[in-house]
């Protein structure tokens, strides 16, 4: 998979990456800021994401909503925040790429003069609505919060959710917004990727013209997010408005791109990717004790988690699920993946990979991926080596990853219908959610 690109760093530290793809007359503009909720402090959570909302509300030289002119030019746009980074993207018709660069550079350089209390309060309400809609009012919606709180100590940067605590959001101030912008939303902490129907030299010139004058900004404070240790299994329970109880088993696991990260992705695929996977086959297909099962390596920059989730079929207990999962994990070590299983995982990994690279823009498209490799590894062209992590993995690698990481030190979260604490795994303590 060859994704040719040109990489240039402007004097102010902004990385510019360009990839030409003339297949469709569009250009993707993608900006990453290396800041996310792990740069927040305890008691001041939800900030990075709230800030992302404000980035769409206007800047000094265009003090109106950002959607309108970009959509009027035929573009689509969005942004997102997670624990490690914040990204913004536009996919523009090839003739309107300058508009997106003008606007991205204006909000990178000149957001604060246009920020008002009214905008801030409006977007805080929007975010509180987002939180109620997507977390509080959604079955199992608070599980992620309960898990993070059990996996990480209260001051750890991965202890809280990116959406933030409602009380913290309500307490946020405009001054904090300004300080946050001055620290993190600066060229030296950002990476700009352009992909699509544009000539490389012109793309670099345009990037230099629009972003080159912006001040570099300060050194960003480091984040200390080591992988904590759990002493054995920690069982927690959450009551929720759900019909069927669900069990989450979660382990600490190696950081994104670290040794074992890709192996655990493949372990997840063997365990729960598709109907022939081991857990699906055992729990859903043969024994019918679960209605669904999933496994994933949730890769993050400083420290990851590996998760198995299963929902109990009516009348089945979470203990049944727990022991079936334990059995499959034991079997994984005793009876490591066969050649057939490995082949399937490799084909799936390759297909997922190629699939993502069909688009130049948007979440997960080529421009986003170039920025991901650049921000996390300083190597935008990591595509080949990334794919090789999967295609070169052996059954023994997977077995060793399973042995090394998926042991007895873990969090087991039971989500049970309200009033049915007796459905939880025995010995579970109430989960911390707010």
């Amino acid at each position: 998979m060859d994704i040719p690109f040109t990489h240039q760093r402007l004097d102010n530290g902004l990385d510019v990456i360009v990839h030409e793809d003339r297949g469709c007359p569009i250009v993707a503009v993608n900006v990453w800021y290396h800041v996310g909720s792990k740069n927040e402090k305890r008691g001041r959570t939800g900030f990075a994401h709230l800030f992302e909302h404000l980035m769409f509300e206007g800047s000094q030289h265009y003090d109106q909503g950002y959607f309108r002119p970009l959509q009027e030019a035929g573009g689509v746009l969005n942004g997102s925040t997670n624990a490690d980074r914040t990204n913004y993207w536009e996919v523009m018709p090839a003739n309107a790429v300058e508009l997106a660069l003008w606007m991205e550079s204006d909000r990178m350089g000149y957001l604060l003069p246009a920020l008002t209390v009214a905008k801030f309060e409006n977007q805080r309400n929007v975010v509180l609505n987002e939180r109620r809609q997507n977390y509080e009012n959604r079955p199992y919606g608070l599980a992620g919060m309960a898990i993070a709180a059990a996996l990480y100590p209260p001051d750890h940067p991965y202890h809280w959710m990116t959406i933030g605590a409602a009380d913290d959001l309500k307490a946020a101030t405009l001054d904090e917004v300004s300080a946050f912008f001055r620290t993190y939303y600066r060229p030296r902490n950002a990476s700009l990727a352009l992909a699509g129907d544009i000539e490389t030299a012109r793309a670099i010139d345009l990037a230099a013209a629009y972003f080159g004058d912006l001040e570099a900004g300060p050194e960003v404070p480091p984040v200390d997010a080591p992988t904590p240790r759990l002493d054995g299994e920690r069982r927690v329970v959450l009551e929720d408005r759900v019909e069927l109880p669900r069990l989450y088993i979660v382990w600490h696991s190696p950081a994104l791109f670290a040794e074992g990260d890709a192996h655990l992705d493949l372990v997840a695929e063997v365990l729960a990717g598709g109907k022939t996977s081991r857990l699906y086959r055992r729990l859903v297909y043969e024994r019918r004790i679960a209605t669904e099962v999933a496994a994933s390596q949730n890769s993050r920059e400083s420290s990851s988690s590996f998760q198995i989730v299963a929902t109990a079929a009516p009348g089945r207990s979470l203990l049944d699920l727990e022991s079936a999962v334990a059995e499959e994990l034991r079997r994984f070590v005793d009876d490591p993946p066969s050649q057939v299983e490995i082949e399937r995982c490799r084909a799936q990994a390759e297909a997922h990979f190629v699939h993502r690279l069909q688009t130049v823009g948007g979440f997960g498209g080529k421009s986003d991926q170039l920025n991901a490799y650049n921000v996390f590894l300083g190597a935008p062209g990591f595509f080949d080596r990334d794919l090789a992590r999967y295609t070169e993995a052996s059954a023994d690698d997977l077995r060793r990853a399973c042995l090394r990481w998926l042991g007895s030190e873990r969090v087991a979260l039971s989500v049970v219908p309200r009033g049915r604490l007796d459905f939880a795994l025995p010995g579970s303590e109430p989960a911390a959610v707010s």
Binding site: Q60, G74, N129, R138, T291, T311
Partner: protein
């Protein structure tokens, strides 16, 4: 080099866009085949369109089309479910089944080097699924369990209630997943019979796009599907043609309420029966909807989200189908602003027909966002197959994509106002709220709304 920040840069000349050539062929067994070359990435996408969706469910058996669709990948020919999925997995194939009101879609994207084998499997799933009792039993159970879980998912509860109130017993009055009672009473013979009756090459289109020539794509489809001779095909009336008869006594300004104690948000649906995809006003309505509630900068989202902060987002949709699909506004709003949000939303629906008709500026903005960005809808092979499925399902002309932009460009503000007068009916609105009545009641009084009518989920 300093940049001029006194004004936004104007876009240059629009790049020319030519939709890639579409070829359409009918195989000897009646199968309708569409091919498009798409060379970017070593993948091939195939989409099978079966003209048998949830609207074809017998009236006493909602959920049958979806169970049938679900059973297609549970084993076919010599392969049982696990054998089939093992093969699919090793071919790097991604399979997706989607049961809509008018049609069932089976989409597959695969690495180009495996396209041959993958298409043969796809054809076998469509032509000779096994319908083993054991698999049926398991799939049915999983769907019943899914229905149990949907009881607690507010958008699903709102959707189901809204469609029922709007359409009653009309084929569009239920969700594809059906009901617990119907699924529990279903026998294995039913999906098998549904398949025999409805899965007939003459009712099916296969759309293939990818890194191969037209001839190669056609040969792939022909090799896979050409030998299929169905057992028992017979013509079937189109349920979409049935008229919608008035359902419950739907007085205007009534709000129907599904009580959900302790709910953190109020889930809203406001709308009425809309129009069919074949309406001559289609283009005007698409553009009107962009102004009204179809995009971020629309009137309704600007009002409810960006001005009032009542919601994370509100949008309106004309769900165009073969028959008259719903026109609906969706939003999840903060409980204490529920009444106000409903009042504002309805006021916007009224205003666009009369006191604040679409302006020239709004028309320009609305259409620019779909015409100027048009090529991006066809970036991937999968997008191309989905686009062409629309032509196949709604009997649209083959030059439809070339005509789309000029047709939108010919619209005037008067066309949109006329479309609004004709197709938006504030006097026929059904409003459904799923939320906590205690938190909401006060806001209803404040907004001057009548007492909500309690309905069961």
């Amino acid at each position: 080099m300093a940049v001029d920040r006194s004004a936004l840069p104007r876009p240059g000349i629009e790049p020319p866009f030519v939709f890639p050539e579409i070829r359409r062929t009918r195989l000897a067994n009646g199968l309708d085949v569409w091919t498009v070359e798409h060379r970017d990435v070593p993948l091939v996408s195939a989409l099978v369109l079966i003209r048998a969706g949830a609207a074809f469910d017998p009236s006493d058996r909602p959920g049958l089309a979806a169970v049938t669709g679900d059973l297609l990948d549970e084993g076919c020919g010599e392969l049982d479910a696990l054998g089939l999925h093992d093969k699919l997995g090793r071919l790097g194939a991604q399979l997706e089944t989607e049961v809509g009101a008018d049609a069932t879609l089976l989409g597959m994207t695969t690495l180009a080097r495996f396209a041959n084998e993958a298409l043969v499997l796809l054809a076998e799933m469509i032509a000779s699924p096994r319908f083993d009792l054991r698999d049926f039993d398991r799939v049915r159970d999983l769907r019943v369990n899914r229905l149990l879980q949907l009881r607690e998912i507010a958008p699903a509860v709102a959707e189901r209630t809204f469609l029922r109130l709007l359409y009653g017993n009309h084929p569009y009055g239920h969700l594809p997943i059906g009901s617990e009672e119907s699924l529990r009473g279903m026998a294995i013979a039913e999906p098998a019979a549904f398949h025999r009756r409805m899965y007939d090459p003459s009712r099916i289109s296969v759309i293939a796009a990818g890194n191969a020539s037209h001839d190669e794509l056609l040969r792939l489809v022909d090799d896979a599907f050409g030998g299929w001779r169905p057992d028992d095909p017979h013509p079937y009336p189109d349920p979409a043609a049935l008229p919608v008869t008035a359902t419950a006594s739907l007085e205007s300004d009534r709000v129907f309420m599904v009580q959900r104690p302790g709910a953190a948000q109020s889930e809203l649906r406001i709308g009425h029966v809309g129009v069919s995809r074949t309406s001559p006003d289609y283009h005007a309505l698409v553009t009107l909807n962009l102004v009204l509630g179809g995009q971020f900068v629309s009137r309704i989202n600007t009002n409810l989200r960006e001005r009032k902060g009542y919601t994370y987002g509100a949008r309106t949709t004309f769900d165009f189908r073969r028959g008259a699909g719903p026109f609906v506004l969706h939003a999840s709003v903060q409980p204490d602003a529920t009444g106000e949000a409903i009042r504002e939303a309805i006021a916007e629906l009224q205003a666009i027909r009369s006191e604040r008709p679409v302006t020239t500026e709004e028309l320009e903005l609305g259409r620019a966002s779909i015409t100027r960005g048009y090529p991006r809808n066809f970036e991937t092979a999968e997008q191309v197959t989905r686009a062409i499925a629309q032509l196949a399902l709604y009997d649209l002309p083959q030059d439809y994509f070339t005509q789309f932009v000029p047709t939108i460009m010919s619209l005037t503000p008067d066309d949109l106002t006329r479309a609004a007068m004709e197709h938006i009916h504030p006097d026929r609105l059904v409003t459904v709220v799923v939320g906590d009545r205690e938190k909401i009641d006060g806001s209803f009084v404040g907004a001057g709304l009548g007492e909500p009518v309690a309905v069961a989920d």
